[in-house]
């Protein structure tokens, strides 16, 4: 069972890698291209990803396979999660644009032999360890 599940994820990753390398998709670079050149090619991939998932989730909710219950937006309005969600996303978009592409495209470029993305992946490793070591106690002051 262990091997089956791990192989399933590996297969998902391989298909993502093959298609991601051929189509040059980037979830951040698409918007950057649209803001600078008005090139709609890459963001159509992002929107098709979103629309496919939304339609399938609605279909499966109708049939009854999924049963999602999200809290509504008004109920969490007074929560400090919203501030962290907004500010964190702004800074995520900012630094990801400065680096050039989203993490998906960095991993795909790592497979193509780009060394810049390997340094980025090393940075991601260090950042994850740093987050759980020190930063999560700093953020708890803000009610995270």
């Amino acid at each position: 069972m262990f091997v089956v599940i791990s192989l399933f994820y590996l297969l998902l990753g391989v298909i993502t890698g093959i298609l991601g390398q051929r189509s040059r998709i980037c979830f951040i670079g698409g918007f950057r291209d649209y803001f600078i050149i008005r090139d709609k090619d890459l963001i159509m991939g992002v929107f098709s990803f979103f629309v496919t998932i939304r339609l399938l989730v609605l279909l499966f909710q109708l049939i009854g396979i999924f049963s999602l219950n999200w809290p509504s937006l008004i109920a969490i309005w007074n929560n400090s999660f919203i501030v962290m969600a907004f500010i964190g996303a702004v800074l995520l978009g900012y630094f990801a644009t400065l680096s050039g592409s989203c993490p998906l495209r960095h991993y795909v470029q790592m497979g193509q032999g780009n060394t810049s993305s390997m340094w980025f992946a090393l940075g991601m490793l260090i950042g994850i360890i740093l987050f759980y070591w020190k930063i999560i106690e700093l953020i708890s002051y803000f009610g995270f």
Binding site: V46, L91, G93, Q109
Partner: protein
């Protein structure tokens, strides 16, 4: 835009449709193991799950990641390597700014863990109807706009 059937792999819309279906399928198949909602594909969370297996620190990996190794990321690297070798696009290029990329990697992963998703998983969570993801997507677009403005200002100096 005419797409020939042989070159359909080159189209990002094909990527979106295929991977969207696969991710929702993986959510259905693995329902018995109680993953977090919308956990099909995430590059920050899955990196954290891989590190959990290597380093014995207590990172907040979900239960499914403690029982099974989530091998999405080695799969992405392997798949892109295979495809690049087949199309003769594999080329080892030396990095121009290694320290800058390490710094940006640290920052991207820290803010990714604050909102608990990478940019890819943000659209996935939005597809599942998460109201926090709606706020985060608005913030992400604002952040991309600010990043583009910063790059243009730096280029003019």
């Amino acid at each position: 835009m005419i797409i020939r059937l042989k070159n359909i792999g080159r189209s990002p819309v094909f990527f979106g449709i295929v991977i969207g279906c696969l991710v929702v399928l993986s959510e259905i198949i693995l329902k018995g193991f109680n993953p977090p909602t919308a956990y099909g594909i995430c590059f920050v969370c899955n990196t954290r799950d891989l590190i959990q297996w290597i380093i014995p620190l207590d990172l907040d990996a979900p239960e499914i990641a403690r029982r099974f190794i989530i091998l999405t990321i080695p799969g992405v690297i392997l798949g892109s390597f295979i495809s690049a070798k087949k199309n003769k696009e594999f080329k080892v290029q030396r990095s121009a700014k290694p320290v800058w990329m390490v710094l940006l990697g640290i920052l991207v992963s820290i803010f990714g863990l604050i909102i608990m998703s990478c940019p890819t998983r943000l659209w996935l969570r939005l597809g599942f109807g998460d109201p926090l993801a709606l706020i985060s997507v608005v913030g992400l677009l604002l952040g991309i706009f600010l990043g583009v403005v910063t790059q243009r200002i730096i280029a003019c100096l």
